[in-house]
């Protein structure tokens, strides 16, 4: 890590050879239609105590390269060419028995998703203990507690007796870090160790990881899709694109002066580095709204500017406790804000801040405990079932997970057509014309109609979800973490698409997100939520330039790479 302050020259004088050297690495996968290379000709060197980051989008081969280094390629994958030298020993084709010896105490791993990487049926302590035991370290309760405490888990002796589902995401990641570092490996592979966590937690975890590895002198291979994060945490960055290493070099140098076109795009679209609102909508929004809605233009003039008003909204959930008596949990506490027609309002907060609960109440999927939601002058709680049906037509959601929100059994045509059919709009021919139009609007080829969700990439699926949301010509779109699951480049595309649609169709967006970097790019107004309360509201520029609350400041500080200085032409 950086705090060790070891440059490449110094390191090579300290140790003659690098700890890990990957030479000309090809990794190929056997599939139904033959063998293809996921990684070709990868080069990588990590010196003792150094942190190297591999950056790239999903499918770039970054994780595959890392898995090859610890001998954990999936059964259909193999190293077809090249060498992986660990301290001079080629481990690319070494016997599994040797790999088992190396794993844990020479090469450790911190995996990506803290939710799925701990076995739900074993206590946390046991999962640490078996690591210690397998690597011949002392494995008593005190040793387990020590490993967990070092990873920053408070009250670790008691926590060790709990199960993973009793832990928050950040605590689980700490447990996984404890497992990865418990046997003091010389090399730690950290595969997107914090991408599933909130930004503030992310910062704490990365800070802690940095302190631990520099104390132990561990080399780190950090895998990430976030260039900002990589630049901030690593000594050197390796950029991978479609299985090839396209560029590598010292972090800041690479960020300030990217050579390869892909790196340039990556630097330009990294959300943490971009700093301005996508302008299309803001500039043209108001006039085009009038142009494009001629039939309703007269009516709309009489409508209030605030299409959506949320007043003193509160939601209390009853939690069951051991003795059957319920305790109250206030998920949303007296929240008021309003959304102006044709603008984007973002609700920002960490998980558990109540932002998604607000979205569900605005969509009338959840009844508020108290308070009102006024849509277009009408309190939504007074709507009859029939009016509610009409309301749903005007307010459409786009959800976070483009994998989960599309029915895998429906082809794309049917997926987009379904809302039209549900609302009995048009006949077969006009519906088909509409679907074709929608696909054009979201820049998908018409041939997509016959395909199924599993044949599409994440970005394409999210475009389909956008098309489906637009099918009923809604006025308001609620985006619940609509771009959080996407790679940065795809994310930038979808955000641009949303901005363009807003300017063309005069849409109003309510954007629910934990990602402040995204907010900066898309929102006009920001509402910051913390523990169910609205702590700060204002225009995006105001909130970003002069945040008032400590919580907002903490959120802003936690954006990876946020403090890195970039020349203006790149940002």
């Amino acid at each position: 890590m950086k705090s060790t302050q070891i440059t490449i020259e110094e390191a090579s004088s300290l140790a003659e050879r690098p700890l890990l050297e990957i030479r000309d690495l090809d990794v190929s996968f056997k599939t139904g239609s033959g063998e293809f290379n996921a990684v070709s000709g990868a080069h990588l060197t990590i010196m003792q105590g150094e942190t190297v980051a591999i950056v790239g989008e999903s499918g770039s081969g970054k994780s595959t390269t890392a898995l090859a280094a610890i001998g954990l390629l999936p059964p259909n994958g193999r190293v077809s060419r090249g060498q992986i030298l660990l301290d001079g020993e080629d481990i690319a084709h070494v016997h599994e028995r040797r790999m088992i010896e190396l794993r844990g105490n020479t090469i450790g791993m911190v995996p990506q998703d803290p939710m799925s990487n701990l076995n739900p049926v074993w206590k946390i302590g046991y999962q640490v203990k078996e690591t210690l035991r397998a690597n011949g370290k002392p494995d008593g309760p005190a040793d387990v507690a020590k490993a967990l405490a070092e990873a920053g888990l408070p009250d670790s002796a008691r926590r060790a007796k709990q199960y993973p589902h009793e832990f928050s995401g950040g605590m689980r990641q700490r447990a996984l870090i404890a497992i990865g570092l418990s046997c003091q490996p010389r090399l730690l592979i950290a595969d997107e160790p914090t991408s599933a966590l909130d930004v503030t937690v992310q910062r704490q975890i990365l800070d802690h990881l940095e302190t631990m590895t520099s104390e132990l002198g561990t080399s780190v291979l950090l895998i990430t899709h976030d260039l900002g994060l990589a630049a901030e945490r690593a000594d050197r960055v390796v950029v991978m694109y479609r299985g090839n290493v396209v560029e590598s070099g010292p972090s800041l140098e690479l960020l300030r002066n990217p050579q390869h076109p892909y790196t340039k795009r990556l630097v330009a679209s990294a959300p943490s580095l971009a700093s301005r609102r996508i302008q299309v909508a803001k500039e043209r929004g108001i006039e085009s709204e009038e142009l494009l809605a001629p039939s309703e233009a007269v009516v709309e003039k009489h409508l209030p500017a605030d299409v959506l008003q949320v007043e003193n909204l509160t939601k209390v959930f009853k939690l069951r406790s051991g003795l059957g008596r319920g305790t109250d949990f206030t998920a949303v506490d007296d929240v008021s804000f309003s959304v102006q027609r044709g603008t984007t309002t973002a609700i920002v907060g960490e998980s558990g801040s109540g932002k998604s609960t607000v979205a569900q109440m605005v969509l009338s999927l959840l009844a508020p405990t108290s308070g009102r939601i006024v849509f277009d002058g009408v309190d939504t709680s007074t709507l009859t079932p029939k009016q509610l049906f009409a309301f749903r037509r005007r307010v459409q959601p786009i959800f976070q997970d483009p994998y989960g929100s599309l029915d895998p059994m429906y082809n794309i045509y049917r997926t987009i057509e379904e809302p039209l059919r549900t609302h009995k709009i048009g006949d077969r021919t006009t519906r088909e014309i509409k679907v074709r139009e929608l696909l054009d609007q979201v820049a998908l080829p018409q041939s997509t109609m016959q395909r199924y969700p599993n044949e599409l990439s994440g970005g394409q699926r999210q475009r389909v979800a956008v098309a489906r949301a637009l099918a009923l010509d809604p006025e308001v779109i609620i985006c619940d973490e609509a771009v959080s699951a996407l790679d940065v480049l795809v994310q930038a595309q979808v955000l641009n698409l949303l901005a363009e649609l807003q300017s063309n169709l005069g849409l109003t967006y309510l954007f629910i997100t934990h990602d402040l970097a995204v907010v900066r790019q898309i929102a006009d107004h920001v509402c910051v939520m913390e523990k169910g309360k609205l702590v700060e509201t204002g225009t995006t520029d105001d909130v970003f330039e002069s945040p008032e609350m400590d919580y907002t400041k903490a959120l802003l500080n936690a954006i990876p790479g946020g403090k890195l200085m970039l020349p203006p032409e790149v940002a």
């Binding site: 088992i100 794993r103 791993m109 995996p111 701990l118 739900p120 049926v121 690597n135 589902h165 051991g322």
Partner: protein, 309 residues
């Protein structure tokens, strides 16, 4: 946890009343006069018929009969069946036999089903896996009575490894062949369920993490794949135990096992209301208790499940 168990046990009461009432009514509604059937072609004197009717309360309306049945049951007076045999003695004779049969069948299903399923899942697509898959499909597709007769003929008669019929001397050894037949179909289901579950869990992230920790393959399989894969299997086995106790009519018939299935079948044929209902009641109890045990085992296997509400 105690509250949960108590609540589950209290649930037995309505289940018990409901099933007995229903079964009693169905036997009552069966066509034919059970007393006349006792005498076959002979025509007994009317006084004898009347006396028997009075003894079994057949001259009373249905609900009164059911009431008397319940009263007798709660005073532990099970009475005699239509052949004047005490029902309590019959139960004491048939239930141990069926219990032995069911336990043997359960062991065959659980131990062999899980072992084969685990092995097949770990070697997915290899020869062992394909063979076992086809074989289990055959077992599932062929009706039990066909399997029963084939096994009886091959192992009982031709090879002479076991007695072809059990008869009066039912013990652990003589019951093995019927237990194999009885357990075979569920063995195939358990095998397939375990296999699917193992394949699913093999690709779980935490299994890869376990390997990355430096654990040996056997340890990864035993602690991280097998235990997680047992969760659906245990649910199936529990639901299946009930049918092992009561549903062995065909198998018990083929191998002439003097157990519950056989007795129940005869009692239904004779229209012996009290006998049928008492046997069914015991089966209901067994079923409820077995399912409770399974739910507790389930909570032990999967700590995310807690029954404290």
């Amino acid at each position: 946890m105690t509250r949960y168990i108590l609540r589950r046990l209290l649930q037995v009461i309505p289940v018990f009343l409901g099933t007995t009432l229903l079964v009693y009514y169905m036997v009552f509604a069966l066509p034919g006069d059970p007393i006349a059937a006792l005498f076959g072609d002979k025509q007994p004197p009317q006084s004898v018929i009347d006396a028997l009717r009075a003894q079994y309360h057949l001259d009373q309306p249905f609900l009164v009969q059911y009431g008397i049945f319940l009263k007798n049951l709660f005073t532990f007076d099970l009475g005699v069946d239509y052949t004047q045999q005490p029902i309590a003695a019959t139960l004491a004779r048939i239930f141990p036999v069926t219990a032995m049969l069911a336990i043997e069948a359960l062991i065959i299903q659980a131990v062999f089903g899980v072992a084969f399923g685990l092995f097949a899942g770990l070697r997915r697509g290899k020869l062992f896996d394909s063979t076992v898959l086809v074989a289990s499909l055959v077992v599932i597709a062929v009706p039990t009575f066909v399997l029963g007769f084939v096994f009886q003929l091959i192992f009982g008669v031709q090879l002479g490894w076991a007695k072809p019929t059990v008869g009066a001397n039912a013990n652990w050894e003589t019951l093995i062949l019927p237990a194999v037949v009885l357990g075979l179909v569920s063995f195939a289901y358990v095998l397939r369920l375990t296999r699917t579950s193992v394949i699913e869990n093999m690709n779980a992230d935490y299994v890869r993490t376990a390997t990355a920790k430096g654990l040996s393959r056997p340890r990864v399989v035993m602690t991280h794949i097998l235990r997680n894969s047992m969760i659906p299997v245990v649910t199936y086995l529990g639901a299946n135990l009930g049918s092992l106790m009561g549903g062995a009519i065909v198998t018990e018939g083929i191998f002439n096992v003097p157990g519950v299935g056989n007795k129940l079948y005869q009692a239904v044929l004779r229209g012996e209301g009290p006998t049928v209902v008492i046997i069914v009641s015991v089966l209901v109890l067994v079923f409820v208790v077995a399912n409770l045990l399974v739910d507790l085992l389930y909570a032990w296997l999967d700590p995310r499940i807690r029954y404290e509400k």
